[in-house]
Symmetry: D2
Subunit: 141 residues, 4 copies
């Protein structure tokens, strides 16, 4: 499938349309395999004990899948998350950013389905794994 | 089942141990049926178009279930979310707080399972629904 | 919302279009609150130890939600399950049928979302709980 | 991680302890990457229209993950499914068996988490994807 937006185009889009949260994320890669997004872990993402909060990990999985969809259909769509199932498996390693690898498993007319694996940067063992469904509005370019 | 913490005790706990996010939430009720928690919707919870962000709704469901568990086992436990499945069903009504109603379906030795229904305050139709599993550490008081 | 099929109409439909599995189920109730479906537990639903198998409980939740949708939109649609998140919470009580209570939370143009609670007949504590999404084909009567 | 049971040992176990359903499945592979299980699609797995039923696909994902766990901890444990989130993405290709590839993402003391990808044999596009959690009883060999 053709790639309509690369990592740089996705970052520009994120900064323009999601200014509020864009500073949390960096798009590290976007290609046929999917999209790799970094959560620049800061104080505001932490819970007591120094672990990254669940909502921050949810946000990372959600934005990574959103960008994986946009990389294929372009910046015109207003896709919205309709479902997410997320497993939190390990405490993230303190002092490391989190990296999400999102891949599209289905890009249909109305629904896009994919999953995202989250690890602490440089670590192999998964911290969390999410599967997500997005609803894609009927009129897309 | 006995209630070990009421709405006021849960709020005090939240303010002390989760200072960072406690300002977002208010515990409206805690009883045998479960816990009712308000998300005081502010600019930082919104996405373009004025809708409450997915991560903010996830955070609301997560904290409501966490407090529902603590209301039963007391403030000693370090329960952690291991799984969440969330359906986003409707756009929240602009200008309204979100209310989550969380109920425990199982409180086992090692796992607690429950669900949370989220509505815009004063509205009947569900905005989102989440089911959550928490792992409860072996030594609890 | 208007009810287009009652319990009897749903059973007739089930027997005609799902002959293979219809014998497993009985529609006990269909009204504004949702649909109540019985799994007539037999040897073929059991796992070693006498517990009802996960796939049998999944099938019960799935058929109950399907019938809850049909009760509202009529027998014309070919709705298909797109997502299910199910929690297995307790071992069913040996020697009892399982009862699923399914309710629709959203009936949109393209997607229907609901949940189903499963108990052993006459017991209060939930055995399993599922949330399900169905895709509804564009042309419905 | 050491492999305690290979494909053949898993099949022998399945036939002995799950005689009722064992005939539906064949263990094609078991190694460090996970377990590959075939659903030998027969009339009883089909729905009107010739598609494999949701419960049959759930059963395939469930058994594949179960065997992936046993391949690591041996045949002694009585692991039970506590959670499954499954996305049905495409109609299986008529006349083909279904193949599930299950991998363990976490094998903890109390919980095992993994996912399973289901395809029609010889096809690349996923038919369904499931994430599953199993509870592992405290005393294991």
């Amino acid at each position: 499938m053709e790639l309509r937006m690369d990592a740089r185009a996705l970052e520009v889009f994120l900064k323009r349309d999601f200014g509020q949260v864009a500073a949390d994320f960096a798009v590290e890669r976007a290609d046929q395999q999917g999209v790799r997004v970094r959560l620049k872990v800061a104080e505001r993402h932490l819970r007591p004990g120094g672990t990254v909060s669940g909502p921050s990990m949810f946000a990372l999985a959600d934005v990574a899948m959103y960008l994986a969809i946009l990389s294929r259909i372009g910046p015109v769509a207003l896709a919205v998350t309709t479902n997410c199932a997320i497993d939190f498996m390990r405490k993230p390693s303190a002092g490391y950013d989190l990296m999400a690898e999102a891949r599209l498993l289905k890009l249909g007319r109305a629904l896009a389905v994919g999953d995202a694996m989250i690890v602490s940067e440089g670590h192999a063992e998964p911290v969390a794994r999410a599967s997500l469904t997005y609803s894609i509005p009927p009129t897309r370019g």
